[in-house]
């Protein structure tokens, strides 16, 4: 397993780049593991990585139905931030952001984490106050946040429409440490990192059943045979309901479509991540030059990974309204991911009614930025059989108890979160 460095790159360059081996192995499944993680996406890979890295559990398998990293971690708008309102969320996402900040050196894989700043625009005094409540909450919890006025926003993002807008921009809430990361690289880097610590990443291995002995889990049936494990973690956001149902569990989760778009690549015009406060639109420019952007959910349950026309109209209109100069650029591609939407917009990282079975899902919009934090907390929860303080609120029971963590106040309507 070769270490990545500029020196290695040069020496490989002199011999035609022929010396690189596989980034991660391609093992056959063993009959049994200490922990099985179902799902080779960002969260599953991160969970396995941190099980090995921080919990010392290396006899771990990640079972992926197809190829790793091609679900939501490979189809998002790459934004990383921790600008949440409630402490239950902002402390968790801050932990995640801190892990992001050291991830490249930790993994020896450049995931191109770029802390270019995330600006949420506000368009009215009441929206400013709501953002201030959030920003102040972040600051009280030790997270960076700045409230910008209109001129400060103009200085940072001059291409916004300050003159002819239907919903004029009054200012913005800035988190400088927020930014973007190269989404595919995160999956690959985590896979390589977990593999180096001994984790088996098994692709083309679909879980078809969860075997129980009474009230506890004993293993999983797969398309490559039965695999035993006393602990099984589900990390298949988008399809959490389907996998949980294999263990007879019904969840407060619905699956919805979230779309993303990329424009052709142009020389740098936008240095930050900017979100429109008068609608659903967010945008950043990738290192390759493409403008990567997205909007809200399509608003109805879906497992389709296919882009739709109404959302393209909706999102792109808001984009042009926010940044009129985009009008003459062209949009290249549109795609969609399947989001687990919970009934309060906050995820699940918790135990289930089945002993030894854990669930990590319900990521709503927050999945990508949560990847390292989610893996770290899930690994802790699995290893210790109890949640860490960071994910203590992210239970299934909170809905029965009335302890929702509803940042938007949208209520039990998943498609509105």
């Amino acid at each position: 397993m070769s270490k990545y460095s500029v020196f290695r790159l040069i020496s490989e360059g002199l011999r035609g780049q022929t010396g690189w081996g596989r980034a991660w192995r391609d093992p056959d499944p063993k009959p049994a593991y200490d922990v099985i993680i179902i799902g080779g996406g960002g969260h599953g890979l991160a969970s396995a990585y941190y099980l090995a890295r921080t919990q010392g559990i290396t006899n771990v398998a990640v079972l992926e139905r197809g190829q790793i990293g091609l679900g939501n971690v490979g189809r998002n708008t790459t934004i990383v931030r921790s600008n949440y309102l409630f402490p239950e969320n902002n402390l968790f996402y801050e932990k995640s952001l801190q892990l992001w900040e050291g991830l490249e050196q930790d993994l020896n894989f450049n995931v191109m984490m770029s802390q270019r700043g995330v600006i949420n625009l506000y368009h009215s005094d009441s929206q400013r106050d709501a953002y201030a409540r959030r920003g102040n909450s972040m600051r009280l919890n030790g997270i960076d946040a700045e409230l910008l006025d209109r001129e400060q926003v103009r200085a940072m993002v001059p291409i916004l429409d300050f003159d002819n807008a239907r919903f004029p921009i009054q200012g913005g809430l800035l988190q400088r440490r927020g930014g973007t990361a190269r989404h595919d690289a995160v999956a690959w880097g985590l896979a390589r990192g977990a593999d180096r610590l001994g984790v088996d990443i098994i692709q083309n291995c679909e879980v078809t059943g969860i075997r129980r002995d009474g009230d506890r889990v004993v293993g999983v049936e797969t398309t490559r045979g039965y695999i035993a494990a006393p602990k099984v973690g589900i990390a298949v956001a988008g399809h959490t309901s389907q996998v949980a149902a294999m263990a007879g569990i019904r969840l407060p989760v619905e699956s919805h479509l979230l779309q993303a778009f990329v424009s052709e690549s142009v020389k740098p015009v936008l240095d930050h991540v900017v979100t429109f406060g008068a609608g659903h639109f967010y945008i950043s420019q990738s290192d390759k030059g493409g403008l990567v952007f997205g909007g809200g959910l399509d608003g109805y349950n879906s497992f389709s990974q296919r882009g739709t026309l109404p959302e393209a109209e909706h999102v792109i209109s808001e984009g042009v309204a926010m940044i009129p100069m985009l009008s003459r650029l062209r949009v290249l591609r549109q795609w969609a991911g399947v989001m687990d939407m919970t009934f309060d917009g906050t995820p699940l990282i918790c135990k289930t009614p089945v002993r030894g079975l854990y669930v990590n899902g319900g990521w709503c919009y927050g999945g990508f930025k949560a990847v390292p934090g989610s893996g770290w907390c899930f690994a802790h929860t699995i290893a210790k059989d109890e949640p860490h303080a960071f994910n203590a609120a992210m239970t299934i029971e909170r809905f029965r108890d009335g302890a929702m963590v509803d940042e938007k106040g949208a209520g039990p309507f998943p498609w509105l979160h």
């Binding site: 619905e254 699956s255 349950n301 029965r400 039990p412 498609w415």
Partner: protein, 91 residues
């Protein structure tokens, strides 16, 4: 773009409608207790396949319609009036 065949107005674009969630859950009677209301409000089958859901023809005849839609293909098998029974295709 979904096109929904409103039993009153005919086939119309998604833009005229608002989604209203799972139509297979039924509001419990007032005295059904907390658990029944929890299940009603929060737990879902979330099927990957045929799904019965509410759509409100809000920019049309303002009727709440029951739509049988496939959550992978988005095909619509049936659109019924609120009080009518629907049949869910097997597959």
């Amino acid at each position: 773009m979904l096109r929904i065949n409103c039993p009153f107005c005919g086939i119309r674009d998604e833009a005229e409608f608002k989604f209203g969630g799972d139509a297979s859950v039924k509001r419990p009677p007032a005295d059904a207790g907390a658990e029944a209301f929890y299940l009603y409000a929060y737990e879902r089958d979330n099927p990957k396949g045929w799904y019965v859901e509410w759509w409100h023809h809000v920019a049309g005849c303002r009727q709440w319609l029951k739509v049988v839609r496939h959550t992978v293909t988005h095909d619509i098998a049936q659109v019924a009036k609120a009080g009518d029974a629907v049949s869910v295709p097997q597959s």
